[in-house]
C-alpha cells in the first residue's frame, strides 16, 4: 500500500525531511509519530501528491507518485486518497450533506446522495445532513470531515493530528471510528500525530518515528 525508500524533501537550504525506509501492506494501519514541526504534515502531503517528491522512492497504492504529472496527480488523489486535515476545513456555505458531495464535484463525478446519506447514518449524523457546519459540535464536525474523506472510497486514509483537541474518551472514540471506517472500505489508515494516546488506541499499527527528521542538509 505504501512503500517509502530513502525519501528526502528539503524545505530550504538548511532543513530537510528524511525517511530511510517504510513499508505498509494492504489493510495495515500506520502511525507517524513525532513532535510538532518535525515534518509529519509534509510527509502526508508528499504521500497525497500535494507536494512534489524531490528525492527517493514513494509508491502509494501501486503508483509511483513521482511519475504523476500535476494534472494526473489531482485526479489520482481524488480517487486514491482520503484526507482528514487537522483544521477539518468544512465549507461553511454548504450543508453537511453538500460538504460530502463536494468530494464528488471535486473529483468530477455525479454526486451520489444515497452514498452520502449512508455515510452520515453510519457516523451518527443522519439528522444533521441539512445543518451547516457551524451548527455542529467540534466532534460532529470531525465526523463530517471523516465522512467526506471516505466518500470517494479511497485506498488510503490520511489523518493529520485527528486527536489534537480531544479529551481521552473522544480520542479513543475518534481513533476507533477512523479504524472501523477505514477497514469497512478496505483502506489503510495513516495517522500523523504527536499524541501518545493514539499509540495505545491503535496498538496493531506500524510506527514511523520522525523524532530527528529535521536534519541539517549535507
Amino acid at each position: 500500500m505504501l512503500n517509502i525508500v530513502q525519501l528526502r524533501y528539503a524545505y530550504n537550504a538548511t532543513q530537510a525531511l528524511y525517511v530511510d525506509a517504510f513499508h505498509l501492506a494492504i489493510g495495515e494501519h500506520a502511525i507517524i509519530l513525532g513532535p510538532s514541526g518535525c515534518g509529519k504534515s509534509t510527509l502526508l502531503h508528499l504521500v497525497a501528491a500535494i507536494l512534489r517528491l524531490q528525492e527517493g522512492t514513494l509508491q502509494v497504492a501501486g503508483t509511483d507518485v513521482k511519475s504523476l504529472t500535476p494534472r494526473a496527480a489531482d485526479a489520482w488523489r481524488g480517487k486514491t486518497i482520503g484526507f482528514l486535515p487537522q483544521r477539518l476545513a468544512l465549507v461553511r456555505s454548504l450543508s453537511v450533506r453538500e460538504n460530502l458531495l463536494l468530494s464528488a464535484f471535486a473529483n468530477g463525478q455525479a454526486g451520489d446522495v444515497a452514498r452520502a446519506d449512508t455515510l452520515l447514518q453510519a457516523l451518527g449524523l443522519a439528522d444533521k445532513s441539512a445543518s451547516k457546519p457551524h451548527q455542529l459540535s467540534q466532534g460532529q464536525q470531525q465526523r463530517v470531515a471523516i465522512a467526506r474523506a471516505l466518500f470517494n472510497r479511497p485506498k488510503l486514509l490520511l489523518a493529520d493530528e485527528p486527536t489534537a483537541n480531544l479529551d481521552d474518551a473522544s480520542c479513543a472514540a475518534a481513533i476507533g471510528l477512523l479504524t472501523s471506517q477505514a477497514s469497512a472500505i478496505g483502506a489503510s489508515l495513516v495517522i500523523a500525530t504527536h499524541d501518545a494516546r493514539v499509540l495505545s488506541a491503535l496498538p496493531q499499527a506500524k510506527l514511523l518515528r520522525l523524532t530527528v527528521s529535521l536534519r541539517e542538509a549535507a
Binding site: T42, K79, A89, L102, S103, F105, A106, G108
Partner: protein, 405 residues
C-alpha cells in the same frame, strides 16, 4: 440541492455572504438600469422626433426662432412664433420646386390637446386612418387623434369648446362650439395627440370672438383680405430646393423658414450632452460595481482559502477553482444586469406614464433596442474584470501551505 456544480456552488457561496452580494447586485443593477434607461428613452425620443418630421422639408412661419418654429409646428411642444399672411400659401404652392404645402392654423386647445386647423393632407401625411366617423367637411367639425380622443373621452356627435392658448385654463370660445365627427386610429406620431379641424373653423372661432358679422359683405371682404395662417409645412419636389427655398423664404419680410432636419439635429446635439452625462455617470457606477465586486471576491478569498485547498485535496484540478471563482463574478454581474435592465425599462415606463399626462412625449417600457445587447456584454466584462484576479489566485492555491497553517 442534490447536485453540486460550479453554478450551484457559486450561488451558495454568494448566498452565504448575503449582505455583500446584495450590495454588489444593487450597484450593478443601478449602473445597468441607468444605461438601459438612457438607451431606450433616447432612442424612442429620437425615433419619435424623426417620425414626426419625416417628409417635411421646410416649415414656413413668422419671423422668430427657427427652433421654436419647428417645436411649435411639427412637435406641438412650443407656442407659435406668430402668424403669416394667407397669400403665402398660394405663393409657395405655385413654386415648381414645391411638391406639397400643408397649411396650419394654431392657437387653441381642448383639454390640453392642440386644435390644429389644417386640411386632409395633414392627416394623410402621417398616414392617419379613421377608426370611426368621417373627416371634417364643414367648419366647426373636428377629428380627434387616437390619444386625444382616449384621454379627453371624446365621442362621435359630442360638442366641445376650444380654449385660447395651448395650456389648460385659457379663455374659452363659448360662442363657437365644435362637433366631433371622427376619431383616428393610433399612428404612433404627433397626430395621435391633436384635435384636427379645417383652417376655416379656426378662423370662424376668432371671427365670432372678435364680434365680426359674417353676413356683412364689406366686413367679410375686409376679413378675407386679412386672413392669416400660422405655418406652412412644405415638401420639396426636388432636392435642389434645399439650396434655394430657405433663402427665398427668408428674403421675404413676413416669413421665416426652418429646416426640421437641421433644427432636430441641433436639438439632439443639445440633448446629447445630457445623454452623454447620464451615460458617463452610468459608466462610473458600473466601474465602481466592478471594483466593489473585485474587493468583495478578493477579500472572501482569504476566508475561503481552506475551502479551495480542501477541494484541491479532494481531487479538484486548479482550473476547477478558477472557473468556480469566475462563475461567481459572472453570476453576480449578470443577475445584477438583469435586475438593472428590468428596472431601467420600468423607469422608462413610469416616465412615459407621467409624461403622457402632459401629452408631450410618448415613452413605453416595452421598447427594446438592439444596442441593449451591449449591456449584457458590459455586464460580462464587469464580472470578468472583478473575478479574474481572484480566480487566478484561486488557481494558484498552495494546498500544503494553506492546510498546514
Amino acid at each position: 440541492m442534490k447536485h453540486l456544480n460550479a453554478i450551484t456552488l457559486a450561488l451558495k457561496s454568494l448566498r452565504h455572504k448575503a449582505l455583500t452580494t446584495t450590495l454588489n447586485l444593487l450597484l450593478m443593477a443601478v449602473g445597468i438600469a441607468m444605461m438601459s434607461f438612457v438607451l431606450s428613452a433616447s432612442k424612442q425620443l429620437e425615433d419619435g422626433a424623426l417620425r414626426d418630421a419625416e417628409g417635411i422639408d421646410l416649415v414656413v412661419g413668422a419671423k422668430g426662432s427657427p427652433l421654436q418654429l419647428i417645436l411649435s409646428s411639427i412637435y406641438h411642444l412650443d407656442t407659435p412664433t406668430g402668424n403669416i399672411p394667407l397669400a403665402a400659401q398660394a405663393q409657395l404652392a405655385q413654386n415648381r420646386l414645391v411638391k406639397k404645402v400643408i397649411p396650419m392654423a394654431l392657437g387653441d386647445s381642448y383639454n390640453g390637446f392642440r386644435i390644429v386647423g389644417t386640411n386632409a393632407d395633414y392627416i394623410a401625411h402621417y398616414h392617419g386612418v379613421l377608426a370611426q366617423g368621417t373627416l371634417f367637411k364643414q367648419p366647426m367639425q373636428a377629428v380627434f387623434g387616437a390619444q386625444a380622443a382616449l384621454k379627453s373621452g371624446a365621442s362621435l356627435g359630442a360638442t366641445f369648446i376650444g380654449s385660447h392658448g395651448l395650456a389648460r385654463g385659457g379663455e374659452e370660445h363659448k360662442d363657437a362650439p365644435y362637433t366631433v365627427v371622427g376619431i383616428l386610429k393610433p399612428t404612433g406620431t404627433v397626430l395621435d395627440r391633436l384635435v384636427l379641424t379645417s383652417v376655416e373653423s379656426v378662423w370662424k372661432v376668432h371671427e365670432v370672438a372678435n364680434g365680426i358679422d359674417v353676413n356683412d359683405k364689406e366686413e367679410k371682404a375686409a376679413m378675407d383680405a386679412e386672413r392669416e395662417l400660422t405655418v406652412l409645412l412644405v415638401q420639396y419636389a426636388s432636392p435642389l430646393a434645399a439650396v434655394s427655398m430657405p433663402r427665398f423664404v427668408n428674403s421675404q419680410p413676413a416669413l421665416q423658414a426652418a429646416q426640421p432636419a437641421f433644427e432636430a439635429a441641433k436639438l439632439f446635439r443639445l440633448l446629447g450632452v445630457g445623454v452623454d452625462v447620464l451615460r458617463g455617470i452610468a459608466a462610473i457606477v458600473l466601474l465602481s460595481a466592478a471594483l466593489s465586486m473585485f474587493v468583495a471576491l478578493y477579500n472572501a478569498l482569504e476566508e475561503r482559502k481552506t475551502d479551495l485547498a480542501i477541494m484541491r485535496t479532494l481531487g479538484a484540478p486548479p482550473s476547477k477553482l478558477f472557473f468556480l471563482l469566475l462563475a461567481e463574478g459572472l453570476l453576480l454581474a449578470l443577475a445584477g444586469a438583469a435586475l438593472g435592465w428590468v428596472l431601467g425599462h420600468a423607469a422608462v415606463e413610469v416616465l412615459g406614464r407621467v409624461l403622457s399626462d402632459d401629452q408631450n412625449l410618448t415613452l413605453t417600457g416595452w421598447s427594446f433596442t438592439a444596442d441593449e445587447i451591449w449591456l449584457a456584454v458590459a455586464a460580462l466584462t464587469v464580472g470578468l474584470l472583478a473575478a479574474l484576479i481572484p480566480a487566478i489566485r484561486a488557481y494558484r492555491t498552495d494546498i500544503a501551505h494553506t492546510l498546514a497553517q
